[in-house]
């Protein structure tokens, strides 16, 4: 299953999650910073849970350290998939 997942699909899923977290839709984009969207560590834990549910990728708290933008988060998921 993981081989069929595209970068765009993951990015879209992250966008949807951010909207659910309360980020303004016009702020959301690949280079948007989580902090600027008022997305904090508790949200990122939830994001990790979503990614795990949907793509079977295990993300720990330490994996998320240094992840500041949507692009970095998607990169991280892609690297775990490969």
């Amino acid at each position: 299953m993981p081989t069929t997942i595209t970068r765009e699909q993951i990015e879209q899923r992250v966008f949807t999650a951010l909207e659910e977290f309360g980020a303004e839709p016009d702020q959301i984009g690949p280079d948007a910073e989580f902090e600027a969207m008022d997305v904090d560590s508790l949200d990122l834990v939830e994001l990790a849970q979503i990614v795990e549910d949907e793509y079977g990728v295990q993300l720990k708290g330490e994996d998320m350290e240094g992840v500041k933008t949507v692009r970095q988060a998607v990169d991280l998921v892609m690297s775990k998939l490969s």
Binding site: E20, F21, G22, D38, L42, V45, E46, Q49, E52, D53
Partner: protein
């Protein structure tokens, strides 16, 4: 002379609607917020009033507190944050149980989907101090903040602590009150199993046929400010928290001590703290749960504290007849109801009171509101709150 705590703003969300004045006006008009035996805040839709983030980051008991607090702050005329050094602004919020909605929901997740699926937000949402922490963050209050947990006395305890924070000089303003949202399957079943709630679904405090309380939910928030500071900024002053008295029955886990000794002592302490004589009390907002035991013990306590003669002259009514029992929010919502009633010099009614019970012969203001004696007398009242665990908390309030 101790530093005085004045009330500059109030806010409430109750089964009678959104707004403190809504509660006061509808209750005074004899309306009830109880439907199908439950006091639900059916006019409160979190997503209509709060941001997506606020809704996601809070249990319903905190959501109710957020809306009540927003109203109280606007009512107090605060602009952006507290009108004093923010380190001198405190927050004390009571709750009986806290985020039991979250607890129950996440426990289902745990059982059905496993430990990995439990939300990371579970604890910060369900903890009993969540409302006080969230309000401190939202309104930039950097002084002390904590929750009070004393079952159905929690809201009154919070206000009492707030008054003390101001009197002692620890804070110049305090956001305080209580909130509760326990209309959940577990809480509803548990109260029913202990036969605390009314099987008929009727809240009729002090009536001979009373058979238990009706569960309600809601929140009440008051802004207390140190009197001189409030006057200096030109705040409109609704009233004073004159006194606070608190005791323990140390008798039984749930039943009140039958003679109401602890409750009477709490009333006496509140009067003493406020420098008030029993003769100056013109209205009593009773705890009045509609349970057989509370209403009898409370009647005895009022008589013991005010004296038999004075007790029979003073109108005594129960807000719970109109909205049910808001548990940890009750003491706060009812303190607000008391202040607004005193301001209008009116005793709102005890709805559904029709039949006198033996030995329960106070003036319970049956069915219809009644004007309080006017004139030059001060508008001083008592608001009683008693909780499981034997906690008694009484506020002595004066309106202006």
């Amino acid at each position: 002379m101790k530093r005085q705590a004045v009330i500059t703003g109030v806010g409430a969300v109750t089964p009678l609607g959104v707004g403190a004045r809504t509660l006061h006006e509808r209750w005074t008009a004899g309306q009830s917020g109880i439907e199908d035996g439950v006091g639900r805040c059916s006019e409160f839709e979190p997503k209509e009033h709060l941001s997506i983030k606020e809704v996601r980051r809070s249990d319903r008991f905190t959501q109710l507190a957020l809306l009540a607090a927003r109203e109280a702050v606007a009512d107090a005329g605060w602009d952006d944050g507290p009108p004093v050094d923010r380190d001198r602004a405190a927050c004390v919020m009571g709750t009986g149980i806290g985020g039991i909605n979250t607890l129950e929901t996440q426990h289902i997740v745990l059982r059905e989907q496993g430990a990995e699926r439990v939300s990371a937000l579970s604890i910060p949402l369900l903890m009993a101090n969540a409302a006080s922490g969230v309000l401190a963050m939202k309104f930039d209050l950097h002084g002390q903040s904590f929750g009070t947990v004393s079952a159905c006395a929690a809201g009154a305890h919070a206000i009492g602590m707030a008054q003390r924070l101001i009197a002692y000089g620890d804070a110049d303003v305090v956001m305080t009150g209580g909130s509760e949202a326990t209309l959940t399957p577990l809480a509803t079943s548990a109260f029913a199993r202990m036969e605390a709630t009314s099987p008929t679904g009727i809240s009729r405090p002090f009536d001979r046929r009373r058979d238990g309380f009706v569960m309600g939910e809601g929140a009440g928030v008051l802004i207390l400010e140190e009197e001189e500071a409030a006057k200096a900024r030109g705040a409109r002053i609704l009233g004073h928290v004159l006194g606070f008295g608190s005791t323990s029955d140390a008798h039984h886990l749930t039943a009140p001590e039958p003679e109401g000794r602890g409750a009477a002592k709490a009333i006496e302490l509140a009067l003493k703290d406020g420098g008030v004589n029993p003769d100056e009390v013109v209205y009593v907002n009773a705890h009045g749960t509609s349970t057989p035991l509370n209403d009898r013990a409370e009647t005895r306590a009022i008589k013991a504290a005010l004296g038999e003669e004075r007790a029979k002259q003073v109108p005594v009514s129960s807000t719970k007849s109109a909205i049910g029992h808001l548990l940890g929010a009750a003491g706060a919502v009812e303190a607000i109801a008391t202040v607004l009633a005193l301001r209008d010099r009116i005793a709102p009614p005890t709805l559904n009171w029709e039949e006198e019970d033996e030995g329960m012969d106070l003036d319970y203001v049956p069915r219809e509101a009644r004007p309080l004696p006017n004139g030059d007398s001060r508008a001083i009242g008592l608001s009683n709150a008693f909780g499981f665990g034997g906690h008694n908390a009484v506020l002595c309030l004066e309106a202006h």
